[in-house]
Symmetry: C2
Subunit: 246 residues, 2 copies
Amino acid sequence: MSSNPLAVREHGPRYLWIREQLVRMILDGGFKGGAPLPPEGQLARHFGVALGTLRKAIDELVARKIVERVQGKGLFVAAYDTQAAMRLFRIVDASGVKQLPNFDRVLGIRTRAAGANERLRLGLARDEKVVELRRTRTFADGAVMLESICLPGSRFADFKARLGTQRPVLLYDFYEQEYGVRIVGVESRLRAVSATADDAKEMGLRAGHPLLEVERVAFELDARPVELRTTLCDTTEGRHYLDVPG
Amino acid sequence: MSSNPLAVREHGPRYLWIREQLVRMILDGGFKGGAPLPPEGQLARHFGVALGTLRKAIDELVARKIVERVQGKGLFVAAYDTQAAMRLFRIVDASGVKQLPNFDRVLGIRTRAAGANERLRLGLARDEKVVELRRTRTFADGAVMLESICLPGSRFADFKARLGTQRPVLLYDFYEQEYGVRIVGVESRLRAVSATADDAKEMGLRAGHPLLEVERVAFELDARPVELRTTLCDTTEGRHYLDVPG
DNA sequence: AAGTGGTCTAGACCACCGT
DNA sequence: CGGTGGTCTAGACCACTTT
């Protein structure tokens, strides 16, 4: 159905056009993470192109981790399993092993006016508010991270109530389940800072202790920024941030 | 010539086999950065495969930034132009612009026994020595970075004399010209540390100032580590390390 | 056995670059 | 103009998964 093989379309390679159609299909078609997509042959007929062309479009979505191929089974919308989280979370312990820290304690959830940096990074309008969640996370060895998470208030209504008593390790799962927000990419800025008295108290360190500050912006499929997360982490015991450029 | 289309070869897709042949061709064939490769049609005939298969092999090398395609002109071995350097160098100034800091001053070049970390990261034998270059680099705004660069002595003979009075901003160019060593990938570990008295003096800061320490290992085409570089950078004036996962 | 993705072929035509 | 890479086709056969 629909199809319409050689419609008006012009400008640009067909596989790029198909790639965008597929993104919209996933976004608007109610495909959740892990959901199966139609088989390649069917998609090729639907778009009226050869299999090779359709595959080239899929290849790019696979490279972007938006779609997964499983031989003999089919195509699937990529899910936020632990593996994906591992790809975004880059702090590694002394033995070189990535280990997701627990969601330890909520320090506060509040809605407030956005600061200049939050407006910039999240692309907010002048008067838009943000929801801020402050929490601690702990590693297996007991080390504590301090995290502040800012979300655009307009898209995360009723955040405190919906989070309730949940303490999800992967907030991105929560965003998807509760708000239909799929994170597909991040961009991080790293700095070294000194622990303030408050930081130090919360993390069990002395004031002035050097901390790695990771400011991470998370993006949706359509490249809109949806989360600004600032993490403070002690990196003096072998723990470090690992960067392996693609 | 040679060719030998359907030789013993088995196990594994052909395009992977061809990809490895191409890597060896570049490594052993004396192709310098920027050198043109034979056209796709010729390579396809040489390996005895269809154009599409050859292109799939090339696609992977292009993705790894080992080969470049230029429409209408041909294939080229990727060069270390400033753009490639920008991809590896990830420190961004306050305005968000990447700017390569100058090679400011040599603090010392010496050959010495390798420490435990150097042996680990560079995969050195027990008794192998390293050449260490210590230098400062300065940004346009005057900020200073402190850098220690360790190389396996066995592969960088006569380093001090060959460097002479050169002050290349891109050491990787120097490695390629003088030693035929092509860097194609890096892996960085980041920590926050406190400036020692010596660091502080060299960088014009007070002791205890928080510094971002970037420990970067550079790899050759065949994945051998060839350089361990430790950089200390002041990140309190808006300067930061930018990480955009592929 | 039927259905899926993975590899491979042997062409075609287009867009771009140099002479 | 001829040569190059870029796109696209319409098939073929293989490897894997499920029924």
